[in-house]
């Protein structure tokens, strides 16, 4: 019988199960959410290696075990999880409980966590897991954990989570019976029991997250690991429900072609440490999807954009403000201004923003613009037409977009404040050298999200670590790109390179012709609509 002796019952252990997406974002998101509660892995808890029946597992395992000193956990969290359901649908996504939160409420803010259990037993095999669970009460933490479940009024059930393998009812019951030694009082209740126990049979996954075939020569392969524990969050099935309802976000009234997908903006606001009362800023606010998430997390929101049409939206019912209204949030402050001229529009004596989170225009879906004209001669606008004149704009190279973004962030973020932005990346991207730099900012995380074989995007998180000196602005801006124009090129010319890559793919000509035809149809429809209203 093997014990996994590193998972000690003298400590309070939590098993986290992640969803199999956005792999690079999972740990940074978890670390960020924990830091909102001033918890640091390594300092306040340790990460324990997962048990494994195979010496080296190449594929990704969506599990993580955090081990807390019991007294720390007792002080920090409300461990008496009596499973009350948090009522208000929006407040649970934003409020950081300054008193003792439950572990579930802390972790439920992570978009990428599927479930978390209070770990009672774990091992590289079924039997070793059972054996480890038998030892639970021998540890000081385990003993108390078990005692807490001995309340007479508690009902319970055991759910079995087996991936890639089917077990019939009899086999499942056999598995459950192996844990009968706990002798829990109270009755078994299938619907909404006080405590739900989860028995997880982990198997190896392929890179896409599909379980590898479990049968070889008619024999069932042994599991990679087996875990048993109590689901945190109590009565309601917290798995997935604690997360902000992405589907309701998708229903928002005003969406544009550049609107951020809901999940990514949720993750970005976590990486930015947005909390109640955070002063949030999006300098390229567009349709406001990211800003909306800041608002949902309790932040006070400011957004700017050079494009008045996007800010004003399609109508009174479909604009950035109506999205906020739809979610019953206080309105954000929106200003039409040019981020390239931030220091001209705004007078900032003291840094004011806690978080700057944005999806800058990088030429793929929305061209970037800044003030100024293409013409050589600059004509003055006659006085009587000044008021309504739409000032001319010219193309704003992506390298400058990024440089200005970093400089504005360095200038306006409070110390320790975070900048979270997206930068498109082709495969040939050197994280060390091709990201923009600023003396006052330090990189905290870089997470890659593949979009297509050629193209992906990176979410970059930076922290302000040094005070900004306005007299050094030119010097800061000239040192943004380590490799000079070459790096800026890489994200600047993504559109062309994307087009080139797409052209080489079969079917491109047909697709392009099809899209052209569709655009024509839409244009004609619009003409007809307008003609009707005249």
């Amino acid at each position: 019988m093997e014990h996994h002796s590193e998972i000690s019952h003298n400590r309070y252990n939590v098993l986290i199960e992640f969803a199999h997406i956005h792999l690079e974002f999972q740990r940074p998101e978890l670390e960020s959410v924990l830091s909102l509660h001033d918890i640091a892995i390594g300092r306040d808890c340790i990460e324990v290696p997962l048990p494994s029946s195979i010496p080296t597992v190449e594929n990704y395992r969506p599990f993580l075990i955090l081990s807390f000193d019991y007294h720390y956990a007792k002080e920090k969290f409300n461990l008496d999880d009596d499973g009350y359901v948090i009522q208000s649908d929006m407040s649970r996504f934003s409020k950081i409980d300054r008193t003792k939160p439950t572990i579930a409420s802390v972790l439920s803010r992570c978009t990428l966590i599927r479930s978390a259990i209070e770990l009672w037993g774990a091992g590289p095999s079924f039997d070793s897991c059972v054996e480890h669970a038998r030892q639970l009460s021998s540890g000081c933490a385990g003993r108390i954990t078990l005692e807490n479940c001995m309340k007479l009024s508690s009902s319970w059930k055991i759910t079995i989570h087996t991936l890639g393998t089917k077990f019939n009812r009899e086999e499942q019951n056999d598995m459950r019976m192996k844990f009968a030694f706990f002798n829990l009082p109270g009755k078994v209740q299938m619907v909404n029991p006080t405590n739900e126990f989860l028995l997880i049979r982990e198997v190896e996954l392929d890179p896409k997250g599909t379980p590898l075939s479990q049968e070889r020569d008619n024999f069932l392969s042994p599991p990679l690991a087996v875990y048993y524990g109590r689901v945190l969050g109590g009565i309601r099935d917290w798995r997935g429900n604690g997360r902000l309802d992405q589907f309701s976000l998708k229903k928002r009234s005003y969406l544009g072609p550049t609107s951020m997908d809901a999940e990514l903006s949720l993750i970005m606001t976590n990486l930015g440490l947005v909390r109640n009362g955070s002063f949030c800023f999006d300098p390229f606010v567009g349709t406001g999807s990211i800003l909306l998430t800041c608002g949902l997390r309790g932040g006070y929101c400011v957004g700017t954009d050079i494009d008045i049409r996007v800010l004003r939206g399609r109508s009174d019912e479909e604009n950035v403000l109506s999205n906020f209204k739809q979610f019953r949030l206080n309105r954000p402050d929106l200003i039409r201004s040019d981020n390239a001229l931030y220091h001209r529009h705004y007078r900032m004596n003291k840094p004011i923003y806690d978080v700057i989170v944005t999806d800058p225009p990088y030429g793929i879906r929305a061209g970037a613009r800044k003030s100024g004209t293409k013409e050589e001669k600059i004509r003055a606008i006659p006085e009587d037409r000044r008021h309504d004149h739409i000032a001319q704009t010219k193309v704003y190279p992506v390298s400058d977009v990024m440089g200005d973004l970093l400089d504005v962030s360095a200038r306006t973020l409070v110390m320790g404040g975070r900048l979270v932005y997206i930068i498109p990346s082709m495969r040939d991207f050197d994280v060390e050298k091709d990201l923009p730099n600023h003396e006052c900012l330090e990189i905290a995380h870089v997470c890659y999200q593949p979009l297509q074989t050629e193209l992906g995007r990176r979410v970059v998180v930076m922290k302000k670590v040094k005070e900004y000196d306005p007299s050094l602005r030119e010097s800061y801006l000239s040192s943004v790109w380590i490799n000079g124009p070459e790096s800026a090129e890489k994200c600047a010319n993504i559109r062309e390179r994307l087009l080139e890559a797409a052209k080489l793919k079969p079917g491109y000509e047909e697709k392009a012709a099809y899209r052209k035809k569709r655009r024509q149809i839409t244009r004609e429809e619009k003409k007809k609509q307008r003609a009707k209203h005249v």
Binding site: N276, G277, Y300, V302, I306, I308, L311, R312, N319, L321, N330, R331, D333, L334, I335, R336, S337, D338, L341, R344, H345, Y346, R347, M348, N349, K350, P351, I352, S371, G372, T373, E375, I378, R379, A380, I381, R386, H387, H389, A391, Q392
Partner: protein, 135 residues
């Protein structure tokens, strides 16, 4: 546009000597209550220009919707007094919160005190874009 936002907006049109603070000529004002957090307001105080805030408040009270001004807009003292620990009285913090966060200029214009350049505000969104010849 909130008065907090107005607090750090300026005009730097070419040739302007002092484009701050901008005058507010409001034709439509709305009031929208928002959650009050004393700690948050206390932390915000050192970052704003209080004189400008008083100035903005005066502008709103004078030419905004008269009814609104009477019922909702609080009066603010000439200066903020802190107690021995640097803390401000909560009642005052509440008033400051209301002035900075709950008053919205929905329609109107911001006017440069130096050159008279006007920036319009529509749907609560000020348009600060400078023309090519103003850069």
């Amino acid at each position: 546009m909130r008065l907090l936002t107005h607090n750090y907006m300026q005009s730097t049109v070419k040739g302007t000597e002092r484009g701050y603070p901008l005058k507010i000529e409001a034709t439509k004002i709305e009031f929208e209550a928002s959650p009050f957090d004393a700690e948050f307001i206390q932390a915000l105080l050192p970052k704003i220009d209080y004189t400008t805030l008083l100035f903005a408040l005066k502008q709103i009270s004078e030419n905004g919707n008269a009814d609104l001004a009477q019922t909702i807009i609080p009066e603010l003292p000439e200066s903020i007094k802190e107690d021995g620990e640097g803390e401000v009285d909560e009642a005052l913090l509440k008033k400051l919160h209301t002035v900075m966060f709950d008053i919205h200029v929905v329609e109107g214009e911001l006017v440069c005190p130096d050159t008279g350049r006007r920036f319009n505000i529509k749907m609560g969104i000020p348009n600060m874009i400078l023309h090519a010849d103003e850069l």
